[in-house]
């Protein structure tokens, strides 16, 4: 009997354990080696930059945290002044944050503009979620804007009336930006379509509008709205300063956005138009179902670029005496006790602008990726 046992080396030896790559090739070390220290030039650049970044960060932390003064009693800023720049005087923010955020709005009523800001942010968040992109969203907008109006103006429901000159700070920036872009965008689409229209009168009108508005700086439009326009009105009639600035911003943003949208329309292959025609769709059906969805998808990056630009451009209203966020920040440091602490205030205001702009930019990236999923192969 042959009790044959297979005792070849292959059968008996245990399965070879998988070997990890050398430690220098994987993980953090590998990544560092491949990206930062791959050659002597890269190593040198990395070391120099690392040195600068670390030094700067330490300097900033020293200035902004370790040596900083967070509050001072009763406007006595001598402690801050004695720092002579080696530490930040965040006391100016502690003292003035409510003025920077809400301007000259009555102090006891600050909860109203605060609520308005929250409502705006909530509105943005809800509008950003695709699952809420429904007909009802328009009603939510109308309702929210109505509530915002009631909160800001008051005069009903036991809220005291607050005239427009007293509004200020962040709500002004949000109002100008939101209303500006919300109204400019539909206007821009109509103008962009009009510019490609075959009807000569409409086309000429749209070209005229775009070129006229694009041909002048926003500042001069604001001046027109603020200085020239009231002189043309009949005596005794006086349209609110904020509304005038708002309309100027809408018109200006409209012209720029129109060109962005037109870029999208231009980029669409002609076959899409012809296919829509072949299906027998009318003009508005063709535009609404076939053309615009594709065209707008194409121009999300420049669109958001323009949005972000206009969000920041609203700060130009300072030249006509409206206290937006930036102007309120500037005004906060006019009081003699607080003069000279501009860096702290500008950093804070800059951070607020950054949060909004970065959120917009981040959202647009996600939206772009999502809407253009079909293009990825």
């Amino acid at each position: 009997m042959s009790d044959l046992t297979l005792t070849t080396a292959a059968a008996t030896s245990p399965e070879a354990a998988p070997r990890t790559p050398p430690a220098s090739q994987i993980g953090l070390r590998g990544w560092l080696r491949a990206n930062l220290f791959s050659s002597w030039i890269n190593t040198a650049v990395t070391l120099v930059l690392a040195y600068l970044i670390i030094r700067w960060t330490i300097g900033f932390i020293e200035w902004g945290v370790i040596n900083a003064i967070w509050s001072v009693p009763e406007n006595q800023t001598q402690a801050c002044r004695d720092l002579r720049g080696v530490g930040a005087c965040w006391a100016v923010i502690t003292e003035k944050h409510r003025f920077i955020l809400f301007g000259t709005y009555p102090y006891e009523e600050h909860w109203r503009p605060a609520l308005v800001c929250l409502l705006f942010v909530g509105l943005y968040v809800v509008s950003a979620m695709r699952r809420f992109w429904r007909w009802e969203l328009a009603l939510v907008w109308v309702a929210t804007l109505a509530v915002i109006g009631v909160l800001m103006w008051g005069g009903v429901l036991g809220l005291s009336y607050v005239p427009q000159e007293r509004w200020g700070g962040l709500p002004i920036t949000l109002i100008l930006a939101t209303f500006g872009l919300a109204f400019a965008f539909p206007l821009a689409i109509l103008v962009a379509l009009g510019r490609r229209s075959k009807l000569p009168a409409i086309k000429a009108l749209c070209v005229l509008y775009v070129e006229l508005i694009r041909g002048v700086p926003l500042i001069s439009l604001l001046f027109m709205a603020s200085v020239m326009f009231p002189l043309f009105l009949p005596e005794g009639m006086n349209i609110d300063k904020l509304l005038r600035a708002q309309i100027a911003i809408i018109l200006f943003a409209g012209a720029y956005l129109a060109e962005v949208v037109r870029g999208g329309l231009q980029a669409l292959p002609k076959g899409q138009y012809e296919a829509a025609d072949a299906l027998g769709l009318g003009y508005w059906q063709k535009t609404g179902f076939i053309i615009l969805p594709q065209a707008l998808r194409l121009v999300i990056p420049p669109l958001v670029n323009t949005f972000i630009g206009f969000f920041k451009d609203t700060s130009l209203v300072l030249i006509i005496g409206i206290f937006d966020l930036l102007t309120a920040g500037k005004t906060a440091i006019i009081e003699p006790a607080w003069q000279g602490f501009g860096i702290e205030v500008y950093l804070t205001v800059g951070a607020i602008y950054f949060v909004f702009c970065f959120a917009m930019s981040k959202y647009s990236q996600d939206l772009e990726a999502e809407l253009n999923r079909h293009r990825r192969r």
């Binding site: 102090y107 109308v142 009231p230 005794g236 006086n238 300072l318 409206i322 005004t331």
Partner: protein
Amino acid sequence: MQPFGLSFTRALGAAAMCLTIALPGLAQAQQAPAAAANTFDAVRSRGQLVCGVNTGLAGFAQPDSQGVWRGFDVDYCRAIAAALFGDANKVRYVPTTAQNRFTALQSGEVDVMARNTTWTLSRDTSLGLDFTAINFYDGQGFMVKSNLNLKSAKELEGATICVQPGTTTEQNLTDWARANRIRFTPVVIERLEELVSAYTAGRCDAYTTDVSGLASTRSAQPRPADHTILPEVISKEPLAIGVRQGDARFADVTRWVHFVLLAAEEFGITQANVEQMLNDPRPEVQRMLGRNGGLGPMLGLNDAWAVNVIKAVGNYGEVFKRHLEPIGIQRGPNALWTQGGLQYAPPFR
């Protein structure tokens, strides 16, 4: 997934709807005074004075941490409101910039402008406004480091002086130096911040611009006491209250409110003692404070108008002390005429 196009057209419709709903709300045009010719009645019937102020100038007009307007010009708004309504808080402040201030007044957006505006002939004649009272005589001055121990600008012989180019400031400086036979070396820098830092870094001995500007620069320094503003003022910048042309009565009110403040200081009437001063035997004090003479009704106001003004803001000296002295502005030409200054009130009779 819902087609993007459908939701888009809906969004478009929604936006159009927002537009139609929101615009009328926003557009609630404020009814300004019906006729510019009668500001006085319009203000009285509105029950509120609309006052154009600076968007922010240390000492003159600036909102404090709670958003309440304070300052020298702001106190003039309060004083006028006190004269008209007996209540200094019946004021709406409209911040105006250097560019839109005159339009704001012309178009009726504001009733009165207390906004450090220089009274000049061309402004008085061509802008449809009248200047009623000079509440602050500004003018070009000099600031030096205190350790130089200078008492007068005449001692600036041989000094280097920081000045902005292309403004009347530079011209005034040259003219003044020539008139006083003073040799100096100008350091000409365009941007204000750089100019100030050149001065603080010691590149020049003195820095020259309008006194109110010097004062605000000084108060922003780490140690304001290290800098002294010299008493000489070498140019004329009379800052005046402005009203729309065509309502002489309203112009009179603003003018005489200023004179009440001056006369009160002259007679020693203060915010604190105004009640006792009602029994002061001097006839002019009696007339001013409305005990006799019926001056108030001549202005279309009640007899207590002057008392209300003084109760609200004090006399001129008190207003000055409250807002301008803390930022280092000396009385200088704004002292009363009895003390060698220019502030002078016509008689109350």
